[in-house]
């Protein structure tokens, strides 16, 4: 054991081997290439959404509804469970703290800051990512590996229009709708937990605290954020499933990359919205 410790210590004191620099450089280059690829894919998707807006509506509309159901309706129960738990966690942690400083009147403000502005959209995005985003990569990656994308091209069907656009719209609307339900659920369950903890707060006072803390910017940021989270997750997962030739054995790796990158991009977007909110 001492020998191992000594070796570790030497390793930390040793100059960074060239291979580490290569390793980091490779990772950075890959990251830049991914950003470039994702950017191009997102722009192509946007262009297809605009140029083929009314094309084949009788085929694409049922698909959009199906993806909305998959990224929204079917995740409703799980979202409600998370919302109730979220209300409990926040109230449980906050009530004792606010009581200590005699600031019960800020309970509603805390709920708005934490649930409406931050955790609501982010948690919903993570729920949808884990349930539907990962499935997206597997489905599209498998379709790509089995040559279904070439079959679409041979039939003159634009794979972006047929496979990506319904997912982007469905997921954006799904996350937007679920975020609203999650926030409502968390705010209501928050009061319920506060009531159970004997916080001297009437429903009227609680909801007036909430309304006083909310402003128009909150609604605009909430809507933009949840829609963008949905679109981002859909674009990242579709990109990893579709944009490059895949073999079947590479689908699992692509899924892991897509999920990790979706989380990173959602966090970056969230940080950007904090800046926008502070400036606004």
């Amino acid at each position: 054991m001492p020998e191992i410790t000594q070796r570790r210590s030497l390793l930390w004191r040793a100059p960074l081997p060239r291979s580490y620099v290569d390793f980091v450089g490779l990772k950075v280059l890959r990251f830049i290439l991914t950003i470039q690829g994702l950017g191009a894919f997102a722009l192509i998707t946007l262009a297809v959404m605009i140029t083929k807006f009314g094309t084949s509506r009788r085929v694409t509309m049922p698909m959009i509804r199906a993806h909305l159901a998959r990224s929204g309706v079917r995740l409703f129960a799980m979202t409600m469970f998370v919302s109730v738990a979220l209300g409990l966690i926040i109230i449980g942690q906050t009530v004792s703290l606010l009581e200590r400083v005699n600031a019960d009147q800020f309970l509603g403000t805390v709920m708005v800051s934490v649930v409406v502005r931050e955790l609501g959209p982010l948690l919903t995005a993570l729920i949808v990512l884990s349930r539907t985003g990962a499935a997206n990569v597997i489905e599209l990656g498998t379709a790509r590996a089995l040559g279904e994308v070439e079959a679409l091209e041979a039939l003159g069907i634009d794979p972006i229009h047929y496979l990506v656009v319904p997912r982007v719209i469905g997921m954006a609307l799904g996350i937007f709708s679920l975020t609203i339900y999650l926030i409502i659920g968390a705010l209501l369950s928050g009061y319920m937990w506060a009531f159970l903890q004997d916080v001297p707060l009437t429903p009227g006072e609680y909801f007036s605290q909430l309304t006083r803390s909310l402003n128009v910017t909150d609604f605009v940021v909430l809507a933009s954020k949840s829609l963008l989270f949905g679109a981002t997750i859909a674009v990242v997962t579709c990109y990893h499933g579709l944009a490059q030739p895949l073999r079947l054995e590479e689908v699992s790796g692509a899924t892991v990359r897509a999920v990790a990158q979706s989380v990173i991009f959602c966090m970056l977007l969230d940080a950007l919205f904090i800046v926008i909110y502070l400036v606004a």
Binding site: T55, S56, R57, R58, V59, E139, T142, A143, L146, G147, E148, E150, A151, L152, E153, A154, L155, G156, I157, D158, Y162, P245
Partner: protein, 252 residues
């Protein structure tokens, strides 16, 4: 007056469909006219599928000029090719059915997508396609539950859904039993002559194959891929590889 040229290859180098930078067949000079029926044979790995992929506009020629319906396929490869793409149909040897759709949905998808039809609006055409290709019983099944012999037929029905003028068939007889092989040869002949399903209009057909034997005496013209070269044989089918070997054995 000679028939309209459907496609023309001038000194074309065909790329691999898996690696677009790698050449598999070189110096292809070939002209196919309206109403012609070609069988392109060759051993596995000779580049038959790569050639059919390129002819169907799924890959670009590495070198040379490929014109389909007078359009240079080296330059036009995006949406501008769409009107001409809809005049062609492609049958993949591994069928490439959409795994998330039922057989009926697979077959009706192209016509529904391009003509913006609801399911019920495409029902009569779908029924006709399923009946003619004898796959009605699989209509509500998912592709994974259908045997391979039938899946390639479903791919044929899907390729015919838009009533194409030209049909590219990638090695449809690979791995199918003799009953299905006989059905394929007869059906392709009917399509070439003018099938009622296609309003009696004769089709131009290019089919690839591992062996020429099933396609003999069906009126087709034959071409062969050998040693990265493309050789045409006219209406005389070249000997299959095992026949070559048998002949060589007799000579010795």
């Amino acid at each position: 007056m000679s028939a309209e040229i459907i496609f023309q290859l001038t000194d074309v180098t065909v790329p691999s469909r898996r690696d677009a930078e790698r050449a598999v067949v070189e110096a292809v000079n070939w002209e196919v006219h309206k109403g012609e029926f070609w069988i392109v044979g060759g051993l596995q790995g000779s580049g038959k599928s790569d050639l059919v992929f390129m002819l169907a506009g799924l890959t670009k020629p590495l070198k040379g000029r490929y014109e389909l319906f007078g359009q240079d396929m080296g330059e036009h490869f995006g949406d501008e090719f769409l009107p001409n793409r809809l005049r062609t149909g492609m049958v993949f040897d591994d069928s490439r059915l959409f795994s998330g759709l039922t057989i009926a949905e697979n077959v009706s998808l192209p016509v529904r997508y391009h003509q913006n039809l609801a399911v019920e609006e495409s029902a009569s055409w779908l029924t006709a396609l399923l009946k003619e290709t004898e796959i009605v019983e699989f209509a509500d099944d998912m592709p994974s539950s259908v045997p391979r012999n039938w899946r390639v037929r479903i791919a044929l029905a899907r390729a015919l859904a838009l009533r194409p003028e030209v049909l590219f068939v990638e090695n449809a007889l690979r791995g199918v039993d003799t009953r299905h092989a006989a059905w394929w040869v007869a059906f392709i002949k009917k399509l070439w002559a003018g099938h009622p399903l296609m309003a009696g209009k004769p089709m131009t057909i290019v089919a690839s194959t591992d062996e020429f034997r099933p396609w003999r005496n069906c009126g087709a013209q034959f071409a062969e891929l050998e040693g990265r070269k493309f050789l045409t044989h006219g209406e005389t089918a070249p000997a299959d590889d095992e026949e070559h070997m048998m002949t060589a054995g007799e000579e010795t």
